[in-house]
């Protein structure tokens, strides 16, 4: 597969290591190689990858990983920390000028999504911040670019300033600013034409517009699918215009979006917003944390660990283990476990967070229907206390009563009883395996 996530990539390496107890430098080298491949496949620029790998290696060879009992997970943790550090925190604020209007200038390559993003920003400012923006059509080159912005303006009911395709973009920007002042708009969003960063004339035009309107924000609009070239593009635009931020578009696609990391690394400028769809309200604050996971192509193991830690009380977990071993696990315990799992979030999300879970037989096709859980809960709650403690009490009339009480059928009750018994057996097997075998093997998740 071309697009394996980091977790899958590391799994084979980890398998070799788990038996060993201690990690050698060679193992770390192998793991960092996998990390490198995963990052490159995600389109992170190779120079950025190189620097990252160097830092990751330093940390990985240190105690943090080598003395850990779960080296694979530690490596992932280190990688994600480094990535998150590089990405910075969430910064979706838009500048406010001391004296309005605040001027925002949009720039980028052709087809990055500047016009759509301009519209989305106007919508965002008006809906979320109660502002009155003016959109400025300064793309006089692409056929029908002005029509496009005007249509977008109509859809949003936001005024659009345009002077047709014969006007000079610098004049358009200047006049638009005048009009905005007269009409008391507090934001001006200038949509410029797409241009190549190596096009000297057109880049000079942007500098002229900048000089005339003195913008408070200059956003580079970048397609999330951009490959290795993202570095060149971002560097050139930043050098010539001194960007204030980046908007990443088309993030609703299936790209890993490594470009985000490259751009942040070479410009140091925050990625402020992400375009998440073609509709004009689909602009979201950029979330560096989830971007890091996405680039790595892994389920969000860390948040799962966090979630498990905060939601599963350690004492309860110990008690549970004891019960599992002695087969004294009851329907009450089952209910409690279900509650804990539910606290961690939607079941499907949880499954996605577990690396390799989608590869496990059975689990892959298992229907993770939240509604089923509601039925299960209802069935158990319709049992008497005695029945919950000792499922052996069940007989036909009790089952009928339970089915009636829970709004289910006897066959559903039967199915749950059967599953419960099988689960008990499985737990017994698992706990004895764990006791005799290796310690600290992964997480002790209930139900697993």
């Amino acid at each position: 597969m071309a697009f394996e996530g980091l977790a899958e990539r590391l799994q084979s390496t980890m398998k070799k290591i788990t038996g060993k107890g201690k990690v050698s430098e060679q193992d770390v080298k192998e793991m960092t190689r996998e990390v490198r491949l995963a990052l490159l496949e995600a389109d992170v620029n190779f120079k950025v990858v190189k620097d990252l790998i160097k830092r990751i290696k330093e940390r990985a060879v240190g105690q943090e990983v080598m003395e850990s009992l779960t080296p694979g997970q530690q490596v992932i943790k280190v990688v994600k920390e480094e990535l998150s550090d590089l990405m910075g925190g969430e910064q979706s604020k838009i500048a406010v000028a001391d004296r309005p209007p605040t001027v925002i200038m949009m720039a980028g390559l052709q087809g990055a999504g500047k016009t759509t993003t301009s519209g989305k920003l106007a919508n965002h400012l008006r809906k979320k911040h109660n502002r009155s923006p003016l959109l400025v059509a300064a793309d006089v080159y692409r056929p029908a670019a002005i029509d496009q912005l005007e249509t977008v303006g109509q859809q949003l009911d936001v005024p659009v300033f345009s002077k047709g395709t014969d006007a000079n973009p610098v004049d358009i920007a200047r006049d638009a600013l005048e009009q905005a002042k007269e009409e008391h708009h507090d934001y001006v969003i200038i949509d410029t034409a797409g241009r190549l960063h190596v096009d000297g004339d057109l880049m000079a035009e942007l500098e002229q517009i900048k000089a005339v309107v003195d913008p408070d924000e200059i956003f580079l609009v970048v397609d999330a699918m951009t490959g290795q070239d993202a570095v060149n593009v971002a560097e050139s635009f930043n050098e010539q215009l001194e960007l204030s931020g980046v908007v990443l578009t088309k993030l609703d696609g299936d790209t890993r979006g490594g470009a985000a990391l490259s751009i942040k690394a070479v410009t140091g400028k925050p990625i402020k917003f992400a375009g998440m769809g073609e509709k004009l309200d689909q602009l979201e604050p950029f979330r560096p944390e989830s971007m890091a996971s996405r680039i790595l192509g892994m389920g969000d193991v860390l948040s799962l660990i966090d979630k498990a830690e905060t939601n599963v009380n350690e004492k309860q977990a110990k008690e549970l283990e004891e019960k599992m071993r002695t087969m004294s696990f009851t329907f009450d315990d089952f209910l409690e476990q279900m509650g804990q799992v539910k606290k961690m979030g939607p079941l499907e999300d949880l499954m996605n967070m577990i690396p390799g879970a989608n590869k496990m037989k059975g689990l892959k096709n298992a229907q993770l229907d939240e509604k089923q859980l509601v039925y299960v809960e209802a069935i158990i709650q319709s049992m008497t206390k005695d029945e919950r403690q000792d499922p052996g009490l069940m007989n036909a009339s009790r089952k009928k009563r339970i089915a009636k009480g829970s709004g289910t059928s006897v066959s559903q009750v039967n199915r749950l009883l059967k599953q419960f018994n099988e689960m008990k057996k499985m737990m017994k097997q698992m706990t004895s395996m764990q006791k005799g075998g290796k310690k600290g093997k992964g997480m002790n998740l209930p139900f697993m």
Binding site: A2, L37, L40, T151, M225, D229, N232, V233, E278
Partner: protein, 333 residues
């Protein structure tokens, strides 16, 4: 005769024909060519010996061109074997092998006719143009219409992007520039209906070629991909043997996601060729090598600028020649 000489000769022989093309490639791909061959030269200058370090750097040069990790690995493995087989020790000798392999990956077992557009004689040919948002579908259609018209074909366009604001107007402007008719309905109308109208009009006016524009769509949007499949079915039903070409437009700036685009669009329609746009920037579009290698989809056109003439028939030799021109000239001295 070395591979580079062969390439050079090829261009010398058909100088008149290919001068224009190679000139375009040279101009359009100036940046691409420079960065790639400077790097390769640099690499070769620094490593006098062909060893592990050399291959590692070579890997990076190719990865920087968006060729894709898997293809690069395969290529480097093959190169290593070739180096062993031919007992190459000097980095200078390896240049030939590298470019030979690149062209080989591109062509595979096919002959060099794969780039030709499938246009029927004496009956309507339908070309469906697809791709994600912002890659340059409408612009490429304008250029292609101009080119076909220059060749003496009567061409019509169908404005199947009824979704994006201004898309119909944009195609209209290009239609005007190329001097061809555009069949359109209002924004928000059913794209399949527009294309159906286009086919009817093209038949009644005896057009040679109908080029159908479609809205940009990200390949993971299932509904939109279904819509595209429907458009494809309408064309299949109305014109036997059509669409004669399904062109996937790819932005050369796109990284590894282009592979996913090629795969998914091929599932919805039968993609027969690629238009690689925006090659006049610094992006190298190396992913087309991987796409060709894995999915056997050839590149048919390259977009090398914003002018109406700036769409060129893709020629892998010219592409590689563009990349390696510096090296070739240097060798000649």
């Amino acid at each position: 005769m070395g591979f580079m000489d062969k390439l050079k000769n090829r261009f010398k022989q058909n100088e008149d024909e290919t001068e224009d093309v190679s000139q375009k490639y040279k101009q359009g791909m100036e940046k691409t060519r420079q960065s790639f061959s400077v790097k390769l030269n640099d690499l070769i200058a620094r490593y006098r010996k062909v060893d592990e370090d050399f291959f590692e750097e070579l890997e990076e040069v190719l990865i920087a061109a968006d060729v894709g990790v898997n293809t690069v690995m395969d290529l480097v493995d093959e190169l290593k074997m070739e180096v062993k087989r031919q007992n190459i020790k000097d980095t200078k000798e390896i240049k030939d092998v590298i470019s030979e392999k690149l062209v080989e990956i591109y062509y595979g077992d096919d002959d060099e006719e794969v780039e030709k557009l499938n246009i029927q004689e004496d009956e309507l040919s339908v070309i469906l143009v697809v791709g994600v948002n912002g890659v340059g579908k409408t612009t490429s259609i304008g250029k292609l219409a101009h080119q076909l018209k220059q060749e003496g074909k009567s061409v019509m366009l169908a404005a199947g992007d009824t979704f994006r604001a201004g898309a119909i107007e944009q195609l209209d402007v290009w239609g005007g520039r190329a001097g061809v008719d555009v069949i359109k309905q209002g924004e928000g109308s059913d794209p399949a209906a527009v294309i159906f109208d286009g086919i009817k009009a093209a038949k009644s006016r005896n057009a040679d070629v109908l080029i159908c524009d479609t809205a940009g769509r990200l390949q993971n949007k299932v509904n939109l991909m279904n819509e595209l499949a429907k458009v494809n079915r309408v064309i299949e039903r109305e014109v036997p043997g059509a669409p004669h070409e399904v062109l996937l437009v790819l932005d050369a700036t796109t990284g590894q996601n282009a592979m996913s685009q090629a795969k998914t669009f091929s599932d919805a329609t039968d993609v027969s060729g690629i238009v690689l746009t925006k090659l006049d920037g610094t992006a190298k579009g190396g992913i087309v090598l991987a796409i060709r290698n894995e999915l056997q989809i050839p590149v048919k056109f390259a977009g090398l600028g914003e002018g109406i003439e700036d769409l060129q028939a893709f020629d892998a030799h010219a592409f590689v020649y563009g990349l390696f021109a510096d090296l070739l000239e240097e060798d000649a001295e």
